[in-house]
């Protein structure tokens, strides 16, 4: 066994492919269920439809451990800051599914208390229609999300993310270089002055001894 493991085991793949493969097949949802869509999600999750077939094994009830925020139900204005805060607590990468008519557009609650679509608060990746949505529709949305994730480029996103930092580092480096140049120039001038003064002294001494 040890001999087998000692042999070099190498797979070559592009980083984007590998990262996306991992992300695609382990989407852990965070159910933000406020209405009947949440009941429909429960039936999607368990036995008959079995969401764990596509790797959404765990439903995490903390935003810090989940990848997909699943907003299932009506969002009122009183709840909007809470939803926003939950979204901000999630670690990158994060995706949002708006499930059902209420989360997409406010549904038939065209009134003073309901947010007309959660995209007023947070960015949404996939919308599902229906009132409530069928489990099949939910699966369709998950497949759409998986397709979307497969298209993402981790390295590009990383470059985007560190762009500011990179620019800052470049600017700092240029600054430091300029400072060093100035310092060197001053030094050179000092040394030149020193040399000329020495020369003059020597000349004076030579003249003195001549005399």
């Amino acid at each position: 066994m040890t001999a087998e493991a000692d042999k070099p085991n190498i797979i070559t793949a592009s980083l984007d492919f590998l990262v996306n493969w991992g992300r695609t097949n382990s989407l852990w949802p965070f159910p933000y269920g406020t209405a009947c869509c949440a009941i429909e999600f429960m039936s999607t999750e368990v036995g008959r439809y079995d969401l764990s077939r596509i790797g959404s094994e765990y439903v995490r009830f903390t935003p810090r451990q989940s990848d997909v925020l699943l907003v299932a139900g009506t969002i009122t204005y009183k709840q909007a800051p809470i939803l926003k805060r939950i979204y901000e607590q999630m670690a990158e990468p994060r995706w949002v599914i708006a499930m059902g008519a209420c989360a997409c557009s406010g549904g038939f609650y065209d009134c003073y208390c309901t947010v007309p679509g959660i995209d007023h608060i947070i960015p949404v990746d996939v919308y599902i229609g229906g009132c409530p949505s069928r489990p099949e529709a939910f699966f369709d949305a998950m497949f759409d999300l998986q397709k979307k994730i497969k298209d993402e480029s981790y390295m590009k996103q990383r470059a985007e993310r560190v762009k500011d930092q990179l620019e800052m580092i470049k600017a700092k480096t240029a600054e430091a270089k300029a400072a060093a140049k100035d310092f060197a120039r001053e030094k050179v001038v000092d040394i030149k002055d020193f040399m000329t003064s020495k020369e003059q002294e020597l000349v004076k001494k030579a003249q003195f001894w001549k005399e």
Partner: protein
Amino acid sequence: MNTVEDIFSVLEEKFGAKRDTQDKWGVAAIVSAAYLHNAALFLKESAAIKFEMLVDIAGIDYLTYPNHEGPRFAVSYAFKSMSVPGARIRLKVLVGEADLKVPTISDLFANANWYEREVFDQFGIVFTGHPDLRRLLNHVEFVGHPLRKDYPAQKRQWLSTNDYLLPALEKRLEDLGYRVVQRSKEVGTNDNEYLEGSIKE
């Protein structure tokens, strides 16, 4: 033989109640705000049929009601008897726009506490003597009372931060004799901390 009709006659005698002629089922009586508390106490404790259960409190706005005369608002109390099943009575208090005050009955019926908060929230009717008259359904930054007929139904109001209920809770517990020994870091009462991550417009 005591019937609901007898109780109505007592209400009319003692509390100056009038039968509501508009009521479809004939179980409503209009009382003045001054007599409401006593009438509720009478229904709960000393009536021939005791009405121990407060089913609902509803606010009514008659602004766009056809052929309505009289004060703009009304508060309707629905009582149900536990001892005689099926016996029901509704008391109605008419409230004018100038003086939006009704005495509370939350000392008689504990569930009236939240019903009255709801009516206050949606109609702006003030219940005098209520222990904790705050908004119940709408958020703290809401301006106006949405179930009034002159509130535009589609007028939306954003909430900038979620309600921070911990100080109120602590105060309530301290009033009951508890005391705060220790707070965990996550629930620090620093205002700036919980304002972060909220909707700011």
